[in-house]
């Protein structure tokens, strides 16, 4: 059996949560859903299994690729069942237990509820919960794995979501070169340090370290795309002042999560810098060409190779 592959075998050491130095206390309450070897292994299998989609073809990992920090590299908008295209760019998955709300509009208020949205969205996995539970219940491997994880072989929504959360909650990126520099264990080049200084005085008020987000919603002066008709945060709150506001994304691993913005309109970091340099909404930023290069050099120090290659989060079905 594939699960027996020793390289992918999860051990008790793999599921220990350690709050990274300098990170705040997580928002997600891990004491209520403590990752276990069995629960984490099950969550990982589900994450990589297209059984969760209506056509048995699309898994969570279809759009959330590990080498892209679980974003979808080179895809401006999300892809779903039957070639359907969504209205937004796939966000990276990392440090989820420090988020108070999910999706770029912040519409989902709890990690345990988040996976229901892509599973049931008609442009993503197109399923419904009763049918997903029925399919899992009919599968003897899953029955056994759910039994091992939750001591019950009648699979419920709660068991499904908690196993996914056990997997997702340990997706923590905190070992980038920047982190090592802060800890005094690595150095930055002069150009990277210049970028860091520019970042600290121009960007960090919204992309606040160590998570590189303020968990707030902002309109950064992008021109709305009339074909998408995305109202942003306003679609959740109904407040006019929230029109076209989106949640500040973390910049960890930003080098790997191209294209950028909620609709993936910018292909690379240079285009993003050009936007901010010209933007009406962030007037302080009038970066020249040198500064843009320095900022990008700094942003690349946020790439966490250990996270992108952590075998715990890799597809257990590969050899």
């Amino acid at each position: 059996m594939l699960e027996e592959n020793p390289y992918f075998k999860i051990t008790s050491k793999d599921v220990i949560f350690k709050n990274p130095k300098g990170f705040p206390k997580p928002i997600y309450d891990l004491t209520k859903n403590k990752p276990s070897v069995e629960g984490f292994t099950l969550g990982r299998k589900l994450f990589y299994d297209p059984i969760l989609s209506v056509d048995y073809f699309t898994s969570c990992a279809t759009c959330h690729q590990q080498f892209a920090a679980f974003a979808h590299i080179d895809h401006p908008l999300s892809h779903g069942i039957g070639g359907k295209i969504g209205i937004r760019n796939v966000p990276a998955l990392q440090n989820l237990i420090w988020k108070d709300a999910f999706m770029v509009d912040g519409g989902i208020n709890h990690l345990d509820l988040q996976p229901i949205s892509p599973i049931t969205s008609p442009t993503e996995m197109g399923e419904n919960l009763p049918n997903v539970l029925k399919k899992l219940q009919a599968d003897s491997t899953y029955r056994l794995m759910f039994y091992k994880a939750f001591k019950d072989s009648i699979i419920t929504t709660e068991m499904l979501m908690k196993s996914l959360s056990q997997f997702l909650s340990l997706m923590i990126s905190s070992n980038s070169r920047y982190d090592k520099f802060i800890a005094g264990a690595d150095t930055l080049s002069i150009i990277e340090q210049k970028g860091l200084n520019l970042f600290a005085s121009n960007c960090a008020s919204c992309h606040t370290p160590p998570l590189f987000t303020d968990n707030q919603y902002h309109n950064i002066g992008l021109k709305p795309d009339s074909n998408l008709n995305d109202k942003g945060r306003m679609a959740i709150t109904s407040f006019k002042e929230d029109y076209f506001k989106f949640k500040t994304p973390s910049l960890r691993n930003v080098e790997m999560t191209y294209p950028y913005m909620h609709d993936g309109r910018y292909r690379n970091l240079k285009e993003v810098m050009n936007h901010y340099a010209a933007s009406q909404s962030c007037t302080k930023m009038k970066f020249d060409e040198f500064e843009k290069v320095e900022l990008i050099a700094f942003l690349k120090t946020l790439t966490d190779m250990e996270y992108l290659h952590d075998r715990r989060f890799a597809d257990p079905n590969t050899y």
Binding site: G107, I108, H110, D112, S117, I119, L129, E158, I236, S238
Partner: protein
């Protein structure tokens, strides 16, 4: 003497068995309870699903295919001023007979009943819930966390939606789109009926046509679909008065 001992043993065993059984049989006896029954009507008529026989205030014919709603925070006020309060959540569904009876495990001399239509803010904000509130029941918005408090679906030739359907999925716990509504009904004489020694029955009426009127009369051509916060409170104000008490 010796020959009598097995008989003694045997009779003790029989007596023991007797005690055991009498204990077992007495245990599942029902506690005195009050059964609250939800009876669904459209105007004065008993609800018949998928039958195109109902008319709204604009004389537009319609049928009902689905009607389900959450009831919570049930409080029964006794004549002495004290109160019985339940913290259970109930999903009432016209297609599920069992869901239409709520058993309150306490009989009493009740003078009024109050309850909430919908799900309070706490249970919309504290992660995954179980039982009636399990998202598997289809009364949950995945993209904007929160429960659908009331779902009414059907058809009308006046609706411009595909297949002439109309659908009202009403919910929302945050201002200014709060759709939680409180219901309070007095229980005068001849409302709580003694059915058995240990069970009383309270029959409530639920008039689905009231979802489509007072204060706002719903024109199927204009409002065939309300499925997010747009117009949600308008529908919530309409459904606040669907309940009544049936006298026996």
């Amino acid at each position: 003497m010796k020959s009598q001992r097995p008989i003694l043993k045997y009779s003790l065993f029989i007596i023991g068995l007797f005690f055991l059984f009498s204990f077992r049989f007495s245990e599942p006896k029902n506690r005195p309870s009050l059964v609250i029954e939800f009876n669904h009507f459209v105007g004065k008529d008993k609800l018949i699903l998928d039958s195109l026989m109902y008319k709204n205030e604009f004389n537009q014919s319609y049928s009902i295919g689905k009607f389900r709603y959450y009831i919570s925070n049930i409080k029964l006020r006794r004549k002495d001023g004290t109160e019985y309060a339940s913290n259970e959540y109930y999903l009432i569904d016209v297609e599920d007979k069992k869901s239409q009876q709520i058993v309150i495990r306490e009989k009493g001399n009740y003078s009024s009943i109050s309850f909430t239509i919908g799900v309070d803010s706490l249970h919309n904000c504290s992660g995954l819930q179980k039982g009636a509130l399990d998202p598997v029941n289809g009364m949950f918005w995945a993209w904007n966390t929160g429960y659908i408090f009331l779902k009414l679906e059907g058809k009308s030739p006046y609706s411009k939606s595909p297949s002439n359907i109309f659908e009202y999925h009403i919910g929302g716990f945050k201002q200014p789109n709060n759709c939680i509504r409180q219901v309070r009904l007095d229980l005068p004489e001849k409302t709580i009926q003694v059915v058995e020694d240990d069970a009383d029955l309270l029959s409530l009426s639920v008039d689905i046509s009231e979802v489509l009127k007072t204060p706002k009369n719903i024109d199927f051509t204009e409002f065939s679909s309300v499925t997010d916060f747009n117009n949600a409170t308008m529908m919530a104000d309409n459904y606040a008065d669907i309940f009544g008490v049936i006298k026996y």
